[in-house]
Symmetry: C2
């Protein structure tokens, strides 16, 4: 692309976005240059602000630009007495979007994975331990992923909670609502059977 | 998303990219924050540089950060004596990537579309007229799109070139190489028949 090094570099830089290959990056660059320079400039500013300004909440470790995230800074979220443990900030966002949970979170930023050198220290579980002892929690809800590592992590955190005499629950795993039984994988179906609820 | 306004704004800003909806934008934001802040910052810088720095080449109107693009600034590209007229800078890039064309370009930045108020003035055709008279062109190649507007534009430009006694050609349209005849639309197939070449 002899005609514009800046354009070549923009296309290259867009490829850092997940799922964006050479063709998509080229289409994106031309779209912004031809039709939405204002949007492109705005995106540049928001990217810089987010990459430089977003850190981890000192209480729950989710992403935030403040010392404490908006959830931890809100005293009402503590009143619920529920603490939900998740693997990533994306999990927090997904749960927040359901609008069903009014308690607090602790974000592990991963899961226990001894083979990759990720133990309790890497997940700041000592911080979770302090948090478990500090507030009068009525319930700890484990919402780690239903994977081998997620289950092992849930098991480890559950034992910590029990040492603090806190009631522990695990979110249900099973056939997705609207999903078709015959297309669900065997592991999910097993979870779905073992987690069955009595009909009342 | 009570926990981080910056994150919400980043996700919103990412949606200016073509083909990126709410789910993709969310995935992109988390990917950059969790795994590639350096790439995100680099992208922010390249976006700003491109949106602010890239303008139109004063000779051919393609995108460039210089007064003249790299192609127009290269005297060898004029020696070929060929001028290729295209609709967009993306067309220039596509043709450059074939490596088969050694001449110069003129980019219309659109096509004639009287109903949308796009006439010869909006496409800077007076500038093309000056360019046609200024250099000893051996051939003008029309590479506008094979649409009603692209064909009409090609026809108009061809008449201009003939007034300058320049030989005019149109790139071939037909069944894409590797394409299957039965899946090609009727218009393309008609072009393919009317543009047939004698076998030698
Ligand atoms: Zn927090
Ligand atoms: Zn140029």
């Amino acid at each position: 692309m002899e005609f514009s090094p800046l354009l070549r570099e923009l296309i290259q830089a867009l490829r850092c976005l997940p799922g964006v290959g050479g063709k998509s990056a080229t289409r994106m660059a031309f779209h912004l240059l031809e039709r939405d320079r204002e949007g492109g400039l705005k995106l540049a500013g928001q990217l810089k602000a987010a990459m430089e300004g977003i850190q981890h909440c000192q209480d729950c470790r989710t992403f935030t630009e403040e010392e404490k995230c908006g959830i931890c800074a809100n005293p009402r979220r503590l009143e619920a007495g529920q603490l939900c443990v998740v693997e990533t900030p994306g999990d927090v966002m997904a749960i927040e979007q359901t609008g069903l949970f009014a308690g607090r979170y602790f974000v592990l930023m991963g899961h226990l994975s001894p083979l990759d050198g990720i133990g309790p220290a890497e997940l700041d579980l000592d911080k979770l331990d302090v948090l478990l002892g500090r507030e009068p929690w009525g319930e700890l809800i484990l919402a780690t992923n239903p994977t081998v590592e997620g289950d092992a992590t849930a098991h480890y955190v559950a034992q910590m909670a029990r040492r603090h005499h806190i009631k522990v629950s695990r979110i249900a795993h099973g056939v997705p609502v609207g999903g078709e039984l015959e297309f669900v994988d065997g592991t999910t179906l097993s979870h779905s059977f073992s987690g069955r609820q009595p009909l009342v």
